[in-house]
Amino acid sequence: MCALANILEAAGLATVAISLVRSQAERGRAPRVLHCEFPLGRPLGRPNEPAFQNRVLNAAFDLLRRVDVPVLVDFPETIVDEADAPLSCPLPLRNDPRLHPAVDEAIGLMPAYRRSLERTGRTGVVRSGGADRVAELVAAFVRLEAGDDWTVEGAPIEIGAAALDLRAYYEEAALGLADHVPAARQAESWFYRRTVSGDLLRQVQKRLRSSGAPRASWFALAPTGQQLARD
């Protein structure tokens, strides 16, 4: 962000950048930076809270008056992620014992996913053929966990894309099950620590890393804070 701010400002645009990583902002020396100690992924702080978002924007716009660049100011409120408090919401009951539990679970969450989609009009399940293919994606990860050669399941980037889609599907389903927007990383922790599919991704990531598979094949399967320790 700071590099872009410098380039745009030099081209004749007055800029103000929001920062989420203070050390980067300090070194970036962009003209005007409002550092917000907020969770990564939430630079405006709080979803569905226009008043809070406006406070952030107003603080950013206040910096436009400053000409003593570079200016780096801290937003006075902080928000921390709540990864250690996974979202509490119900999981589907076992429905079809012939299916792997992860596949069964994913299918059972479809109504909640569709509720969320209807509510927001947007979805992040866009990389691997959409939500109708989620059961297939889960089945592919089941095969990988069982020991399949990763090269059979596609290029490394495709495995990562499938993982991001599966996570998006579950997190959007969680939004459809919860009566509020979870704090940062609560839905993520629910997925990785409470669901069969989330645990599956962590196990596959661990297996691929241990087997020397390319980083691109396992990097996106689970974020740093959710990864299992390697043997």
Binding site: A3, L4, N6, I7, L8, E9, G12, L13, A14, T15, V16, A17, I18, S19, V21, Q24, R27, R29, P31, P39, L40, G41, R42, P43, L44, P47, P50, N54, L57, A60, F61, V67, V69, V80, D81, E82, A83, T120, G121, R122, T123, G124, R127, L164, D165, R167, E171, E172, L175, V181, R185, E188, F219, A220, L221, A222, P223, T224, G225, Q226
Partner: protein
């Protein structure tokens, strides 16, 4: 116990520094007459795709669109927030409200998304090519103020 972000931030804190020389300065207009655009590094896309294709420097986002997808490749940030409310990364509704209230002059016709972890783009590419192209696009629309948002 450190937060999950607390484990991620150190990993992005030691990225190599860049030196663009003295910090540039463009005087901002009065906010009430400013035409404001958003430039985000969240990798938002308006075409329903979830990947940032090779060689793609930035995409433009029509101001009326809300059906954007998050094509950023990193798993290391909260994604549920933007799934619930686009404005937490891309405060387009807030800008529209501020324009209607007369706080800002107007909202740009289009905004710009880069992807923060572009594998095949360097800072030099951004400085020499995609950055100036993005600036020209905004200037041609009469934009004079830019709010930059990360993800």
């Amino acid at each position: 116990m450190a937060s999950s972000d607390g484990q991620v931030r150190p990993g992005v804190s030691d990225l190599p520094p860049f030196d663009f020389g003295p910090t540039p300065l463009t005087s901002a207009p009065d906010l009430a007459s400013a035409r404001v655009a958003i430039v985000t590094s969240a990798g938002l896309r308006p075409d329903g795709l979830g990947a940032w294709t090779e060689g793609q420097g930035f995409v433009t986002l029509d101001s009326t669109r809300r059906d954007l997808t998050l094509a950023h490749i990193s798993p290391n940030f909260d994604r549920a927030g933007v799934a619930a409310d686009l404005n937490v990364v891309y405060p387009i509704d807030r800008l529209d409200e501020l324009a209607r209230a007369g706080v800002i002059g107007s909202v740009a016709s289009s905004h710009i998304a880069f992807m923060g972890a572009q594998i095949d783009h360097t800072l030099t590419t951004m400085r020499l090519d995609t950055g100036p192209a993005a600036a020209k696009f905004l200037l041609d629309d009469g934009v004079n103020v830019v709010v930059l948002t990360p993800v």
